[in-house]
Symmetry: C2
Amino acid sequence: MSLKAYRLLQEVDTVVGYSTYVDLVTEILAPEQETISTGMGTEVKRCKKAIKLAQQGLEVALVSSGDSGVYGMAGLVLELVEKEASDISVEIIPGITAANAAAASLGAPLMHDYTVISLSDLLTPWAVIKKRLIKAAEGDFITALYNPKSKQRVKQIEEARQIFLQQRSAETPVGIVRSAKRGAEEIEITTLEQMLEFEINMLTTVIIGNSDTYSAQDLMITPRGYQV
Amino acid sequence: MSLKAYRLLQEVDTVVGYSTYVDLVTEILAPEQETISTGMGTEVKRCKKAIKLAQQGLEVALVSSGDSGVYGMAGLVLELVEKEASDISVEIIPGITAANAAAASLGAPLMHDYTVISLSDLLTPWAVIKKRLIKAAEGDFITALYNPKSKQRVKQIEEARQIFLQQRSAETPVGIVRSAKRGAEEIEITTLEQMLEFEINMLTTVIIGNSDTYSAQDLMITPRGYQV
């Protein structure tokens, strides 16, 4: 968490967010600070609630995990404020998104040009996601995959792997990080060939290396190009 | 800066880094903490110095701006430690990279799949960068451009713009952020058509929207796909 987010969370009247993320910050809040948790799938309702409270004059923190500007609530809340032409003041506080958090735990895989792609096709057609996977693979981008697999959605990560195998060696390093930078973090460094042998779930970030990425001493490193 | 980086910086014996970045953190250091600044182009020497001090038993913080794992010193220091088979302990502390910092100042442009591409061809052949720009444009990725222009390097941003114009409307929103989240931050929201009319330099991050990105009320927003 950024120092700025930490300080602001302690200053607001109310914290609104998905229940899991509110739980992650309650320990730094004071007893008089109200929290409002909502469940998964209630994103629009959650943002409207935060806006309504702000319109009533409260200072409200709407929390996302990682960076609220990356598949988080920042866009939705700004869309709603803009649509309603609301005169509340909104500030987006940047955070450390899962790609960067997971990368730090793996070593330094994101040292060169990279892409961030969500495999969730709830809001985006699979054909769009698939096209992006193909372009990312063809461009030799290091690629961070978000929402790689859920109980209902298991084929997407298999298809993504096949797309990358068409462009990159089966030995390309792949980092798998579950619960990046949270208490229960788990890390594996494997390859495109073997990646599906490891547990991948909704809390997992998968980072596929580019053609220069190597693994050594439990680290995944993409050279930037310095002569060492 | 993350709370973790802030706390660790105050605990180490020595802070090593590029002079501009060391200057950014000196205000939080105690008088007894040593700082070692080196100039641009001395990256290998800087990392070797940090490693040598650590081998002597000191606790050393090697600072980068943004996220050290994105075009920063994380990869180089790990490459050197791995090559020397040094037994020092290295921890990479993730940070907020310029793409995410700039995005927060612009609104919420990175709400969908995105790429990060450096236009600096000092360490990477221009042909590789150009190919990535083409794939990013073809994949309808939101694209954050790092090191877009320097005094010696002025044509790359023009060529990048042309590549995107071949795939996207001239009205595609483009955000230009100079010195993201530092004191002298400056922000403009423009279009692919007009982006070259604004100052772009080495401290600038340029974010090109995807085909859904829009601008409204001084904000740049990429919808995730929620019904609002």
